[in-house]
């Protein structure tokens, strides 16, 4: 090939793109698990569990994400191991915990939006508490939760850029590397377009789901 520099940069860019995708998808999955568990604890747990889940939400929503990431990176930094992969792990954990706090609030309001008499009706038919949640409460909560969760996942994709602050080689970090090598401004344009290729389909999927799940109340 005639442009070894271009090839190398394109390869690097591709890796950064992949890292951003994996980081977004991984953190979304983890934050959904965290959010569902903590929200359930908040709604159905005892008073101590409730105050813990509340403290978690208030702490991580009200401190800067970059500081949280730095903190986790420092905590995880192994003193004498190969550190090349560590920033991505720290970023994954940090983004999951941070986004999980927002997911908690969304899931909690979704659960609370379901009339408690729905649970009574389900339990009266002999369904267990878990069955009542699974077949009656959650399907109804999902409908209220889909649009805000969609917006959270779009915000999450954009927040992965902050992981460049702890040297995770995602899109933005990679663009910086290429820029410093080539002196070109174009990597940043490519980065914006790349984020857009992720968030635009997400926004489309969310609006589709919203319409499919809609039902008259």
């Amino acid at each position: 090939m005639g442009f070894p520099v271009f090839d190398e940069n394109a390869h690097l860019f591709g890796q950064g793109y992949l890292t951003t995708v994996v980081l977004s998808a991984g953190a979304l999955a983890l934050s959904l698990v965290i959010g569902t568990v903590v929200a359930s604890a908040r709604v159905w747990g005892g008073p101590i569990v409730q105050s813990f889940s509340r403290a978690y939400v208030e702490f991580f929503r009200n401190t800067p994400l970059l500081v949280q990431l730095l903190f986790i990176a420092v905590l995880l930094a192994p003193r004498n191991l190969n550190v090349t992969r560590e920033p991505i792990v720290a970023a994954l954990i940090g983004l999951s915990i941070y986004t999980g706090a927002y997911v908690t609030e969304v899931v909690r309001s979704g659960i609370l939006s379901v009339d408690p008499r729905q649970i009574e009706a389900a339990r009266s038919l002999g369904l267990s508490q878990v069955e009542a949640l699974r077949f009656v409460v959650l399907p109804q909560a999902v409908r209220t939760v889909i649009p805000p969760l969609g917006n959270l996942s779009i915000a999450l994709v954009k927040n992965t850029a902050i992981a460049s602050g702890i040297a995770a080689t995602e899109l933005l970090k990679v663009a910086g590397i290429i820029e410093s090598r080539t002196g070109l401004f174009t990597p940043y344009i490519a980065v914006l377009v790349a984020y857009w290729t992720l968030t635009l389909p997400l926004a489309w999927v969310v609006s589709r789901l919203e319409r499919r799940l809609a039902f008259a109340r």
Binding site: R117, A121, R217
Partner: protein, 242 residues
């Protein structure tokens, strides 16, 4: 079938039930009346453990409701409940509302559950609404679906908590007709209701509650024509003359 002994229930400082003792025989239809806040719903809800009493005992079909060893889900399979506010599942079609519990709890296969559900929809007079959503139905239709949903579990007992109180007057009859048919089929029923016509026509016994106590109970003719207690007389006057 239902045996309630010296039942007590308080909500904070408020005594909702103050030593209620009563029983309902198999096949009997008992109508419970009384002023708002007298503890009728609380009593009914104690029968299937939606409320846990602070004292006393409830025995349903030989099983002690609040015993630690009693499987509450198994108990509730046999007790159908119809609420004032219908409480249908809005995310499911009428048919799925009926088949959910039989399939999950009674472990019926889909075909059997649907066959049973469609028969019940015929019985309550709305077979054509099987695929509709609850929100597309009138109040009277929703309550009939709620009755069919409870019956789909083939319960031994049906509890009704003011099933017609949320309905427009023109829809009350269609729901009462379904309940009358059920009573004539021999279902054991406990009905909290102020529908005096219903009580006169199908009740075997009327129970009058006031301030967390049973004040008086009698066969309907006796109850309405010759009430013994002053409180009963006063209450009957307020509901019969307005």
């Amino acid at each position: 079938m239902i045996e309630v002994r010296d039942l007590h229930k308080r909500f904070g400082g408020l005594e909702a039930l103050r030593g209620v003792t009563m029983h309902i025989e198999r096949g009997e239809v008992v109508v419970v009346i009384g002023p708002s806040g007298s503890g009728k719903s609380t009593l009914l809800r104690c029968v299937n453990r939606l409320e846990t009493p602070d004292g006393g005992e409830v025995i349903v079909d030989g099983r002690s409701v609040n015993d630690r060893h009693t499987d509450v889900n198994a108990l509730r399979k046999d007790i159908g409940v119809v609420f004032q506010s219908f409480n249908l599942f809005p995310h499911l079609t009428v048919l799925r509302n009926l088949t959910l519990a039989p399939m999950r709890v009674r472990k019926l296969d889909r075909a059997t559950a649907e066959e049973r559900a469609r028969k019940l929809l015929v019985k309550v007079g709305i077979p054509e609404k099987a695929e509709a959503r609850p929100t597309q139905l009138s109040g009277g239709q929703q309550q009939r679906v709620a009755i069919a949903r409870a019956l789909c579990m083939e319960p031994k007992i049906m509890l009704f908590d003011e099933p017609t109180s949320a309905l427009d007057p023109e829809m009350i009859k269609e729901v009462l007709d379904v309940m009358k048919a059920l009573a004539k089929d021999g279902m054991t029923m406990m009905v909290v209701s102020h529908e005096m016509g219903f009580a006169r026509e199908v009740a075997d016994r009327v129970i009058f509650m006031d301030q967390g106590e049973i004040v008086e109970q009698a066969r309907p003719e006796r109850f309405f024509q010759h009430p013994e207690q002053e409180r009963t007389k006063r209450f009957l006057q307020t509901i019969l003359h307005h």
